[in-house]
Amino acid sequence: MDAPDTDSRHEVAGDRTPLLRIRGLGVRFQDFEAIRPLDLDVLNGEFLTVLGPSGSGKTTLLRTIAGFQQPTAGRIEFDGRDIADVPINRRPFNTVFQDYALFPHLTVRENVAFGLRVRGIARATRDARVEDALGIVELEDLGDRYPAQLSGGQQQRTALARAMICEPRLILLDEPLAALDATLRRQMQKFLKVVQRRSGITFVFVTHDQSEAITVSDRICVMRSGSIEQIGTPRDLYYRPRSRFVAAFFGASNILEPCRIESTGEDTTMVSTPFGTIRVDGPPPRVREGLALAVRPEALVPAAGDACNRIECEVVSVSFVGSETITELEHSRTRHVLTMKTRSDPSTRQPVVGSRLEVGFDAAACALVKGARE
């Protein structure tokens, strides 16, 4: 009860203590439960990403931590103290809003200085710290511009500098990169990560983009309809998803279902699937019912005589998408569909549509997950 996700937490946690301890937190709008009572620890100094599809309650969770939203159940402890009665302006957290919410009537410099100004910090100190902060986000030259005269990325960096200058213990970011184009977005992802490492400030970052989450996070918390589906490191979620939902979210799009456990060994499990019996490596599953098997498309290899799991298929379609080639396959006997993603290689022949192809995958490359019916 106290540790909702012990096994994935200790991987990163080490000796780190929770900065935020969220217990039984629920948010209800009239009769709609936006957040079902959940437990979550945010560790000191980590980059935690809250990932989930639209409407899963990410923003609501963040707003509740910031104090803009009153929880209808549970509590949030900061450094061991319940913060229910601490008003927004007294919480040592700062938010980077999705649409930046810069003050339109203040210049970049004045925007960044705002948090220091309200604390009554002397002008000279303030100016020096503002210049420092502008330096970190590389906006020294634009200090006298107004927000309306900035590009999206520059506004975003201003918002980040404005939040960081207050030296908060926690920065909450709600999809801050959503409005940026792909190149700038990647640039900003790296940048956020660097800034977070250097400053040591804890980041809670909301996104619905799994590749972004993988790039920036120490840990990812996957949300689904107001509940936490799984928490863990990016590698955890990528290779060891615990539900069909998480598997699909992280691109393990081949779901072999229904599954039945045939036998379990110490480190291997034999599973019967519509594609035949498959060997799965890893610790045996905790439950034996309602399972599915998730296999990443890039784990499949064509004509792999030595792979321990082999499936006889027919090639349905082949599409060349640059560095990769995506092949749609159909199981010869049951007509179930599989997707295979291989590295494009000019020296090898592409599979021919309609031909038979034996594909194989490693016992370590698949994961037993909770199926659709839970």
Partner: protein
């Protein structure tokens, strides 16, 4: 952008300009042109001079009336600036349903006849009026105060009440345009309510308040009906002076010259307000 819009609808633009010139500028200009014609032996002489303006500026009673009117308009603007801002702020802080109802309630008087509103104010301010009854009921005075009507204070009160919507509505619009996230950001950065008001809400809504003050000043400085009906002898304003030249003295050229003066003041106020209400950050 602007170029495209203009070249995109050349015929439409021409028609619009033609309508403006034909129905607004031409009548106005031909009327104001009277101001440059002298009157000799009660007859207008069609030889343009500046005689009327020279007369106005050398006449001390005209000057006093002019200054009194400007001061009156200024007082009403300042008073309404404060009252209007407080009212708009109050309305803005209500829940949305209330807010809309209050804004509509405030806009309804704008649809009513001006003269009816002034008569209503006359009723309020009279010896048997609402204000006196209230003062009597609360024991502030022992007998009805007649000093509330037919003087400059009556004009001040009447203009303030009647022109209040022109102040409140632009401020409401400006407040309404402040994004809620911006206020949340202020709180998030540690600002107290007072700091948020002082550094965020006030500067963001000030352009609206300046527009309101401009409306109030221009309308108050040119008004003649309110001073005429509640001002008595003391409340003689520039607007009444203009009116008297047209309606009583039948000296149209002098009336027109006085109007030109009023219009110059109005245009000056509008251009200053335009600059103040379009700060650099609103690009």
């Amino acid at each position: 952008m602007t170029d495209k819009r203009m070249t995109g609808h050349v015929p439409g633009t021409i028609v619009l300009w033609a309508i403006c010139i034909l129905f607004i500028l031409v009548p106005l200009a031909s009327f104001l042109a009277y101001g440059f014609l002298p009157v000799i032996d009660n007859a207008i002489v069609y030889e343009p001079t500046l005689d009327n303006f020279v007369n106005i500026f050398s006449n001390s009673s005209y000057r006093t009336t002019f200054l009194r009117t400007m001061l009156l308009a200024f007082e009403v603007s300042v008073f309404n600036f404060v009252l209007g801002y407080a009212t708009a702020y109050f309305i803005w802080r209500r829940p949305p349903a209330w807010r809309n109802a209050l804004v509509i309630a405030l806009a309804i008087p704008l649809l009513m006849s001006y003269i009816i509103k002034i008569y209503a104010m006359r009723g309020v301010l009279g010896t048997n009026g609402l204000l006196n009854s209230a003062l009597l009921a609360f024991g502030v005075v022992d007998e009805p105060v007649s000093a509330l009507l037919f003087n400059l204070t009556a004009v001040r009160i009447t203009l303030s009440v009647v022109l209040l919507p022109f102040m409140v509505l632009p401020i409401c619009v400006a407040l309404e345009r402040i994004a809620p996230q911006v206020l949340q950001a202020a709180a998030d950065l540690g600002a107290s309510e007072i700091q948020t008001f002082r550094w965020v809400i006030l500067p963001l809504s000030l352009p609206g308040a300046i527009v309101g003050a401009m409306f109030t000043f221009v309308l108050a400085s040119g008004d003649f009906l309110a001073p005429e009906l509640v001002g008595g002898i003391e409340g003689f304003t520039f607007g009444r002076l203009v009116f008297s030249q047209f309606g009583l003295a039948f000296n149209w050229p002098l009336g027109a010259a006085l109007s030109v003066l009023l219009m110059v003041v109005a245009l000056a106020v509008i251009s200053v307000a335009r600059r103040l209400s379009n700060p650099r950050w609103q690009s």
